[in-house]
């Protein structure tokens, strides 16, 4: 699979970008030239230079260091919110797909209701209810992903339930839980991998958008959306802050889209609408 993936040039670029991002995020404290939070009034709004390769912001903080630390936030936010969506979505989808009946009809209706609502509005409504904050943003993006995971897992479970190996497992006396997790869940894994990768980009984008609106990470946290929001105060004097930060978000999102698209073509062509 890896070989197939690296043959696709777009996917290769995406994988390299994601690897760089992960390394930067993990090694952030050791490789950043400056402390992302330390302010220096003397260096305020300095253009890119040898000391500050991407310039400094309104408080004299090093933009490069802040962007590198920002990778930690964005990747963590993406992983946690996808994790929430996957945990609840896959469980619900499995139960509904395997047991069917009333439970299935109820869940299908709930999925329809949630899917009819545009994602950003749903995330916004959830943050509206829970209140602003980084954790609530992750929860909001996670909840919004629940129906999406539930739908795909339900569909695969429905079709897998009737296969011969599941019937055989039932015939030798395996219980519902065992069949669901040992036999049906593995069949869902390709779809789950594809969906998770594609959702990473949406999750990172939405979370950054909410932070940009001031509803997520709060200053002085070096989170990309929040940094972009702060940069607007001195846009004319220091355009580099907004330019570089936005560029990094775009690259990150594109990387996950590249890999997700390629994975879909390899693992699960059915997902292509």
């Amino acid at each position: 699979m890896l070989r197939q993936l690296t043959k696709n040039r777009m996917a290769l670029i995406g994988i390299i970008l994601i690897c760089i991002l992960v390394v930067l995020a993990v090694a952030a404290p050791w490789i950043t030239p400056h402390d992302p939070l330390s302010q220096s009034l003397r260096d305020r709004l300095a253009p890119p230079s040898r000391a500050h390769p991407l310039g400094t912001d309104y408080y004299g903080r090093d933009v490069l260091s802040r962007i590198i630390f920002g990778a930690r936030y964005s990747l963590t936010i993406g992983l946690i919110s996808i994790g929430i969506g996957l945990l609840f979505g896959a469980t619900l989808g499995l139960l509904a797909g395997y047991y069917g009946g009333m439970l299935d009809r109820l869940l299908a209706a709930l999925i329809d209701v949630l899917m009819a609502f545009p994602g950003m509005l749903l995330a916004l409504a959830i943050v509206g209810i829970l209140g602003p904050g980084l954790f609530n943003v992750m929860l909001a993006v996670g909840i919004w992903s629940v129906p999406i995971f539930a739908r795909i897992v339900r569909a695969v479970s429905l079709s897998t339930r009737e296969t011969e190996f599941v019937l055989a497992a039932r015939a030798v006396g395996a219980g519902g839980g065992r069949i669901m997790f040992r036999h049906i869940l593995p069949a869902c894994i390709p779809a789950i991998i594809v969906l998770s990768t594609l959702r990473m980009s949406t999750a990172i984008l939405t979370a950054a958008g909410l932070s940009f609106l001031g509803l997520g990470a709060q200053p002085p946290t070096p989170e990309w959306g929040s940094m972009l929001n702060e940069s607007r105060g001195a846009l004319r004097q220091a355009p580099w802050v907004a330019t570089f930060t936005g560029l990094v978000i775009t690259l990150t999102v594109t990387a996950f889209n590249f890999v997700g698209d390629a994975l879909r073509d390899i693992l699960d062509p059915r997902l292509r609408q």
């Binding site: 545009p118 609106l213 846009l235 936005g246 594109t254």
Partner: protein, 314 residues
């Protein structure tokens, strides 16, 4: 099935969505910890004041009672008062709604005018330079964060070139100042969906062009132009219409960012402020209106579909 049945069925499908969304919001709001009454009263209010206020608002009643009372009032247009401005929620919303609708419509027009022709031409001229470049741009357009795009538009078009005002709404659309002020917020909204439209229009057109009846049309000796416009386009645009409908919902979501960045006085800005101030009645009212909007748009899409695709009324 007659056309009326089709319309009726579609209307009926929208109702559970509306009820579902409003029910979810109601129960989550009422089950989350935190007492809205304490937020409404000054911090030095006594326990007695709080109890009296709770009784006054009917918050002591059982949840189902409160739920049905909420619906009874909502149907009559009574969503309570904003905690912050003390004005009726309905008034707050209807004062902002026209500006969001205006923004969304201009954005839909912009994105269709850009996206559909680019996608169709891309398909007709498959694998040419035009096709490759427009596909690359469309891919990028889908990944671009709208809040960054908006910031860059302000930097370039307002601060450096000075072509458009950086923020605010400068009057109705039929004035030059009004048009200039809506351009950047609408374009920000339009870029993402234009990219999606172009990708979809391209793949849909390519698929139609492979069909037998197109070959037949060509075999009859029809000119290429006539084949594209009269035969291919009409079928190719069906999925595009559905997509535009779903996009309208996304535009309502995207408008939140665009309105905040450009200080556009619409619902999105109202929503963000309501969240900041934890103005629960207002949040609830806004979600209610968004849900109605989504249901109505889905309905409009289905109806347009029936008009464009004669097979549906069979």
């Amino acid at each position: 099935m007659g056309r009326n049945d089709y319309v009726l069925r579609k209307v009926l499908v929208g109702i559970p969505v509306l009820i579902g969304v409003v029910t979810l919001v109601f129960f989550i709001l009422h089950l989350t910890p935190g007492d809205p009454v304490r937020l409404m009263l000054p911090p030095d209010a006594s326990e007695e004041d709080i109890v009296r206020m709770r009784e006054h608002l009917g918050l002591d009643d059982p949840l189902p009672v409160q739920y049905f009372r909420y619906w009874g009032r909502a149907i009559r247009g009574d969503f309570g008062r904003s905690l912050r401005s003390q004005r009726p929620v309905l008034k707050e919303i209807t004062a902002r709604l026209p500006y969001t609708i205006e923004l969304a419509i201009v954005a839909v027009i912009l994105s269709s005018v850009i996206g559909i022709p680019v996608g169709v031409i891309s398909a007709v001229k498959q694998d040419t330079i035009f096709d490759n470049i427009s596909r690359a741009i469309a891919f990028l357009g889908v990944s671009l964060p709208s809040f960054w795009l908006a910031t860059m538009f302000i930097l370039l078009f307002a601060l450096v070139l000075g072509w458009f005002p950086p923020s605010g709404r400068d009057g109705p659309l039929w004035t030059l100042a009004g048009l200039r002020s809506i351009f950047m917020p609408a374009l920000t909204l339009a870029v993402g969906s234009a990219a999606g439209l172009a990708r979809l229009a391209r793949s849909s057109m390519l698929e139609v062009l492979r069909q037998d009846y197109i070959t037949v049309a060509r075999a009859k000796g029809l000119g290429e132009r006539l084949v594209y416009t009269r035969h291919a386009l009409r079928n190719a645009l069906l999925p595009v219409i559905t997509f535009m409908g779903t996009q309208f919902g996304y535009l309502l979501g995207g408008a939140v960012i665009s309105e905040t960045v450009f200080a556009w006085p619409g619902m999105g800005q109202l929503a963000v402020n309501a969240i900041f101030f934890r103005d629960y009645p207002l949040i609830q009212g806004i979600v209610f209106f968004y849900a109605i909007g989504v249901v109505l748009v889905n309905l409009a899409v289905d109806l347009t579909y029936a008009l464009v695709d004669p097979r549906i009324s069979l």
